[in-house]
């Protein structure tokens, strides 16, 4: 039995605006096991970034709870202990603005060291050098450089080094390679995987690139307009998608080989625009674009049901599968055994 490191329980995050309430995250529940990589995928307005922001503490939840290592962490950020700030770290999407252009890499990396007293001032330097070496950037060359002088990939490596500077156990990766070229992406992803093994890290990996997700995550959760549509272990998610939105998204992925084309679900033509989160459609929020819509879909919002080992989906098409749907929602989905990595097995 592996430990559960993070539990998100009925999380809600609403933003009141002049035009109405934006329901960025609307009652989601899931949990993450130590050492696994849970992938969160979705398009604009899905709420995946807001979810990460609630976990890391940028926003306090409107409702619901977040438990980290058994402790509730969902109050205001100011109440978070320093130990918590040390333990959960984040790597942002845009390398261009996640590093202060007026500070050198040495200065940037010394901030977390200083705040968390990871090393005494004398040892700062050694620690910074070892951090740079860990992300495979020659320390003497890079320490004094400024962000503008290094490429996007290298900037992300620095961001990763900065995140890992405090020896955390949980790292949120918000589209870490989306702004980078594909030839640079691989190195960073493999570095992240290696570090995960070496340092026993747990990752919450957000990306819109499903092909990347296929190779990185051990479980995938897909969100649409603030709600979870489907969660499944990676291979299952890609081979056996059940939710219509999952299928639509998977069939829209641009691929480069015939082999991959064959793996995609039958083409479901994407229809319609993504509704604004202020104006979420009634019933199941996806019904306005769903090709398999039924009458009840516009009225009732479906609940999560379990349809396979660790595989849950939220769609009326599967409501018959009776596995105590309400209880499932109560406890959240149980994490999958993280030994089951997708790499290598087809």
């Amino acid at each position: 039995m592996t430990d559960t490191i993070l539990v998100v329980d009925k999380l809600k995050k609403y933003f009141p605006t002049k035009r109405g309430t934006v329901k960025a995250v609307d009652n989601i529940s899931f949990s993450v096991a130590t050492g696994e990589t849970i992938g969160l995928v979705g398009e604009s307005g899905s709420g995946k970034t807001t979810t990460a922001q609630c976990v890391i503490g940028i926003y306090p939840p409107t409702d619901g709870e977040i438990l980290f290592k058994g402790q509730t962490i969902s109050e205001a950020f100011s109440k978070r202990s320093k130990a918590l700030k040390r333990d959960i770290r984040i790597v942002f999407q845009d390398p261009g603005s996640s590093l202060n252009p007026k500070r050198s890499i040495k200065q940037i990396l010394s901030v977390p060291l200083k705040v968390h007293r990871v090393a005494t001032k004398k040892d700062h330097l050694t620690k910074i050098k070892s951090l740079l070496a860990m992300v495979e950037l020659p320390p003497d060359e890079y320490m004094y450089k400024y962000p503008q002088a290094i490429g996007g990939g290298e900037k992300q490596m620095v961001a990763i080094a900065r995140a890992l500077a405090t020896n955390p156990s949980f790292v949120l990766l918000d589209e870490p390679t989306s702004a980078l070229d594909v030839s640079v992406q691989g190195k960073i992803i493999n570095l992240l995987m290696k570090l995960q093994q070496d340092l026993n890290l747990t990752y919450l990996f957000i990306t819109h690139d499903l092909s990347l997700m296929r190779n990185v995550a051990s479980r995938v959760a897909i969100m649409y307009l603030g709600k979870l549509c489907e969660i499944a272990p990676t291979v299952e998610f890609f081979q056996n998608p059940t939710h219509p939105y999952t299928k639509m998204l998977l069939s829209a992925i641009p691929v480069v080989s015939q082999e991959e084309k064959a793996l995609k679900p039958t083409k479901i033509a994407s229809r319609g625009e993504i509704p604004s989160p202020v104006n979420v459609p009634s019933g199941c929020s996806f019904h306005s674009r769903c090709s398999e819509k039924m009458d009840m879909c516009a009225q009732d919002d479906p609940v999560m049901v379990e349809i396979g080992e660790g595989h849950v989906t939220r769609c009326h098409l599967y409501q018959d599968t009776k596995v105590a749907a309400s209880i499932e929602q109560e406890e959240g989905v149980h994490a999958q055994d993280p030994v089951d990595q997708p790499r290598g097995d087809g």
């Binding site: 690139d209 829209a252 641009p254 993504i274």
Partner: protein, 330 residues
Amino acid sequence: MKQNMSPLLDVRDLSVGFKIFEGYLSVLNGVELTLGEGERVGLVGETGCGKTTTVKSILRVLPMPPARIAGGEIFYRGKDILKMKRREVQTLRRMELTAIFQDPLMSLNPVFTVGTQLRDIVKDSLGASGKKLTKKQITARCIEALKETGMPDPERIMSNYPIQLSGGMRQRVCIAEALSTTAQLLLADEPTTNLDVTIQDQILRKLDELVEEKNTSVLMITHSLGVVMDLTQRLYIMYAGTMVEEGQTEELFARPLHPYSQGLMKSVPKLTGEGVSDGIPGRIPNYLDPPAGCRFHPRCEHTMPICQTEKPPLFNVENGRHVACFLYRS
């Protein structure tokens, strides 16, 4: 490559550089590109390879003090764009060339409604071809153009401001603008990079339909390999200011020949789940002091002595396939 007619667009040995404080950035290094009438050609390359500089050179919108044309010609229907006078270039941009860019929010004027901007373009292009239409007719044309792009509720959109629309809708407006002109050549520079996957899918399919219908020639520039696969017939791969490979899209994907193309294809994460390749070692060259000979040689595992001294031309490997690599010399 169509042998039967002379190409619509013919870029020959184009070299462009920029004079900056640190020295001279030699960006484009002998770019060769052709586009035939009605053809859909892709230009794939990563950040900094010079694709946007190429597009800007074609449109002649490069800021000329720092930028400098070091050599080459860009022939459009037989006339060299680089030698045209300003008036001619303006006419060219108005009547013959059209473009869509990556960020629609930057391409659309935030203080005018979609209707105003679209009417402006439609009126201009119709006026140019000698037709005189009433305001109602122009508006009707605009609405029709929007409908063609798959825009929901086009009448209402006409009175919206760009900021009120979603990214996908803005890009549809840009497409409507681009295709409402008499232009025969569409330059699309990363048109869907900023959009969600499902919207990207819709827009690309729509674009495909529209250019098919109007027989517009398209140069689709992107760093995303998946995007060009379905949309283009022929493909160029660009690296550090030169074309390194050219061929029929499907062929090229199935059998990339240039070491860079091969590395690129390998780097793309696959749905088959075989893990992510480490990518291509090294970095793109510093244009202040680019490598001599083949610009890819420092990162290439098949480097030979000649690669370090001479720039490989695009060798004709087989029917329509060109590779700029000495491995394919004969």
